[in-house]
Amino acid sequence: MPDRSSGAAEAPFALLVEPNARQQILDAGAWLSALNPEAVRNFSEAMDAALPALCSDLAVAFAEGTLLPRPHEQASLVYSRPVYEKIVTAGNKAGRRRGGGGANTWRVYYDLADTDGDNRPDTVRVLAVHHAAARPLSLEDEA
């Protein structure tokens, strides 16, 4: 039985990216590449930092039983299972303003899986990655 008394020693959760999310990440990269070379670098660096950090933070949180993520209410209700949201901001806030508000903000949706059957989650599965501007804007979508 591994010693889970110290968060610092926790192995990070494994990271899996579902094909849907992979395509969204690569599409975003291609879009940003055409838009602004700095933007695609910022996006890549933000994902490179945020996703492994999420895996480490969750491992510690579950080991210590603290600061557990709160499921995304709407998605979890629709699919009757916990779905989580991670907000990832690429670049700085000045860039966000230049981009029209939230332009560098991405929303990563994931769930947690127990792959070794010990009744403890050990894997982050990235389900989808959405740009902040994809949120509903029209009256019809708000309804």
Binding site: L15, L16, V17, E18, P19, N20, A21, R22, Q24, I25, L26, G29, A30, S33, P37, V40, R41, F43, S44, M47, D48, L51, C55, P69, R70, H72, E73, Q74, A75, Y79, R81, V83, Y84, E85, K86, I87, K93, R96, R97, G100, G101, G102, T105, R107, Y109, D111, A113, V124, R125, V126, L127, A128, H130, A134, R135, P136, L137, S138, L139, E142
Partner: protein
């Protein structure tokens, strides 16, 4: 629900000439812009509360179906693919 917007007189006059549906859309866009601006003013977004469109929910559903089917790819390989796009972009810019 009633929301009162305090608009400059010239803007209010201009809006009075457009159809009501367009005015409503403008109001939604204005509130959204104000919300974004409030984010830039330092307020942190709250994870887990973002309203999702049907398209976003469908996208999450596709991801869940793939996860259930065991189709997940190692995260590092996907991040490496993204880094390749960055490298290609850099080469394109430098060429």
């Amino acid at each position: 629900m009633t929301i009162t917007l305090d608009l400059p007189e010239d803007l209010a006059a201009a809006l009075s000439d457009v159809p009501e549906a367009d005015r409503n859309r403008y109001a939604v866009a204005l509130m959204r812009a104000g919300w974004w601006q409030s984010e830039d003013d330092g307020a942190e977004e709250e994870e887990g509360q973002t309203p999702l469109s049907q398209a976003e929910l469908d996208s999450i559903g596709r991801g869940l179906a793939e996860a259930d089917a065991g189709k997940g790819l190692p995260g590092e390989s996907v991040l490496a693919e993204l880094r390749q796009i960055v490298s290609a972009t850099r080469r394109r810019v430098e060429a």
